[in-house]
């Protein structure tokens, strides 16, 4: 059984399509990263999967059931984001107690140990926490719930680098000890390369790419060299990204389907090849193609006037 299955999923907010004909599925017990630019539809997708909002058209299934208004999905899913709303009257340890009462797989021991480690006080209230602390606490709830499908929407918002690192380790350790499906959206893909197994890249509400992390790292190659030398190589290829750096120097990212012979030719032509990180690749693949150019153009144009 698939943990997540979406077919031709569409969701609109005020006539704007947040999700557009999205089809993908996730196997059980995988850690999947959901990436995409701001407004790509990551949060919308996650809220539909956790049953908070309803898809307009298309089929969505979590463990074979439709999530909207479904108790089974609610019992086996937890959705963690930075806007978690807990009753303001409850103290932090009381919130953890409530979690224990609700979730069958809840590991209270783990929750308390993480609670101690990150330096929370039992008598604090959730709304009095700082942004980073709040995210950390929500993360503890997410990990301790041991939900078969755990959804983290930008779990690291506000966390400092050290806490983020701890979070990745905690996530990985707990996942290895208790495998489950984890869907996680992030803007820090470069930090999570070692944690994620698969990457789902959304762009403007549609699926742009869904592959394993290893494949994604090998997917493309970066070339830099003189424009005149580069042109013949780029002809007829899938150029994912191109940027002119200096007067006659340019950097391009292409699909990594070069043969050994082509590599040698490039070296002779003085073109330097380099690997492209998954994080950079995702940014290149989803960069605006409507001819707006880079943010530099915004400033150059205004200076002219």
């Amino acid at each position: 059984m698939k943990a997540i299955k979406c077919e031709a999923l569409t969701k609109t907010y005020y006539r704007k399509k947040a999700l557009n004909d999205l089809t993908f599925s996730v196997e059980e017990n995988k850690i999947v990263g959901l990436v995409g630019r701001n407004g790509a539809g990551k949060t919308t997708l996650m809220k539909i999967l956790s049953g908070f909002s309803k898809a307009k058209t298309g089929v969505v299934e979590v463990y074979g059931r439709r999530p909207f208004n479904n108790l089974f999905v609610s019992a086996n899913t937890i959705y963690i984001d930075d806007q978690m709303n807990f009753p303001t009257t409850l103290m932090l340890n009381e919130i953890l107690e409530e979690g224990r009462r609700f979730y069958h797989n809840w590991d209270h021991d783990l929750a308390l140990r993480l609670f101690e480690y990150f330096g929370f006080h039992r008598k604090q209230h959730h709304n009095e926490l700082s942004k980073g602390k709040e995210s950390t606490f929500n993360m503890i709830v997410g990990l301790a719930s041991r939900s078969p499908l755990t959804i983290f929407d930008e779990p690291t918002t506000g966390m400092d680098a050290a806490v983020r690192k701890d979070f990745y380790r905690a996530l990985l350790k707990d996942y290895l000890a208790h495998p489950r499906t984890i869907l996680l959206s992030t803007h820090h893909l470069e930090e999570m390369e070692d944690v994620l197994e698969e990457v789902v890249l959304l762009h403007e509400g549609s699926l742009h790419l869904h592959m394993s992390m290893d494949d994604l790292k090998e997917y493309s190659v970066g070339l830099s060299g003189k424009i005149s030398e580069m042109e013949p190589f780029l002809q007829g290829r899938d150029v994912l990204y191109k940027q002119n750096r200096a007067v006659d120097d340019c950097y391009a990212v292409i699909r990594n389907d070069l043969t050994g012979g082509e590599y040698r030719q490039m070296q002779q032509a003085g073109i330097i090849t380099s690997p492209v990180s998954a994080s950079d690749l995702c940014v290149y693949m989803t960069s605006e193609t409507s001819g707006k150019g880079s943010v530099d153009d915004v400033f150059e144009r205004s200076a002219d006037r």
Binding site: L71, N85, T89, H178
Partner: protein, 248 residues
């Protein structure tokens, strides 16, 4: 990780416990509003004066009527507030669906109304004690409450049913507004507008309604009427809540 099947009844039970522990603020507002009711009642809820040469008789009645009225208002407001986004999202922090969320809120409201009606009726004793100790003059306090525990109990039940019925109205009104914010304006307009129209046509609907409920002499029929109204209002609210999205 193994998948867990859960029963609606189990989650409703958990949700009730959760709400009981989390929404302690409602008790604070209950205490405040009932104390306020007691304060307003100190003037006497009804009085009679007669006098002749040589003597004056002034009779003041101290009853919990105002406190009960205030409690009804509190029930309406509390139920109304429980439908707001913040409270609904609290439910969805843990396991629930709309059905279990609404059912647990209704049962929780019933528990609240029970407590509120008991304290409202007990406040009549507080009122008499306060009147006896603090009121000036040479009053003679004639204590007469309900004749028997049976009467007192039926009074409590009647209060409970009334508060619960008004809380169902608050809950329905809140749900309608959550469903579409336009109803913040539309609902009062429709309500008072129809009252106005019916009064013009010599059929004041609000008067009829209050007669229908408050002037019922048979306790059994009164019970049936209030329960029927509560059931209708709560079912409508449940129907609406089934379509509400949360946390979008």
């Amino acid at each position: 990780m193994s998948l867990n099947e859960v029963q609606t009844a189990e989650i409703v039970k958990r949700q009730i416990g959760y709400k009981w522990r989390a929404y302690t603020g409602v008790f604070t507002s209950l205490v405040i509003i009932q104390l306020l009711g007691v304060l307003f009642s100190l003037n006497g809820t009804g009085s009679m004066n007669s006098g002749r040469t040589g003597y004056d008789i002034s009779i003041s009645y101290f009853t919990a009527d105002i406190v009960i009225g205030f409690t009804i208002f509190w029930g309406f407001i509390t139920a109304f507030l429980l439908t707001t986004k913040a409270y609904r999202e609290d439910d969805f922090a843990f396991i629930t669906n709309r059905k279990s969320s609404t059912f647990s809120t209704i049962i929780y409201l019933f528990l609240l109304c029970s407590i509120a009606s008991i304290t409202a009726l007990l406040s009549s004793f507080l009122l008499k004690v306060v009147a006896f100790i603090f009121l000036p003059g040479e009053e003679k306090l004639l204590l007469s409450g309900a004749e028997s525990p049976g009467v007192w109990f039926s009074g409590m039940l009647a209060t409970l049913l009334l508060v619960f019925m008004f809380s169902s109205m608050g809950y329905l009104a809140g749900m309608i507004i959550q469903w579409n914010k336009m109803f913040v304006i539309l609902l009062p307009i429709l309500l008072f507008g129809s009252m106005f129209l019916f009064s013009k046509g010599d059929y004041p609907i609000q008067v009829q309604f209050f007669k229908f409920i408050f002037e019922e002499s048979s306790f059994l029929i009164f019970t049936l009427k209030t329960i029927a109204f509560s059931a209708i209002f709560y079912s409508l609210a449940t129907l609406i809540s089934n379509h509400l999205e949360v946390r979008q």
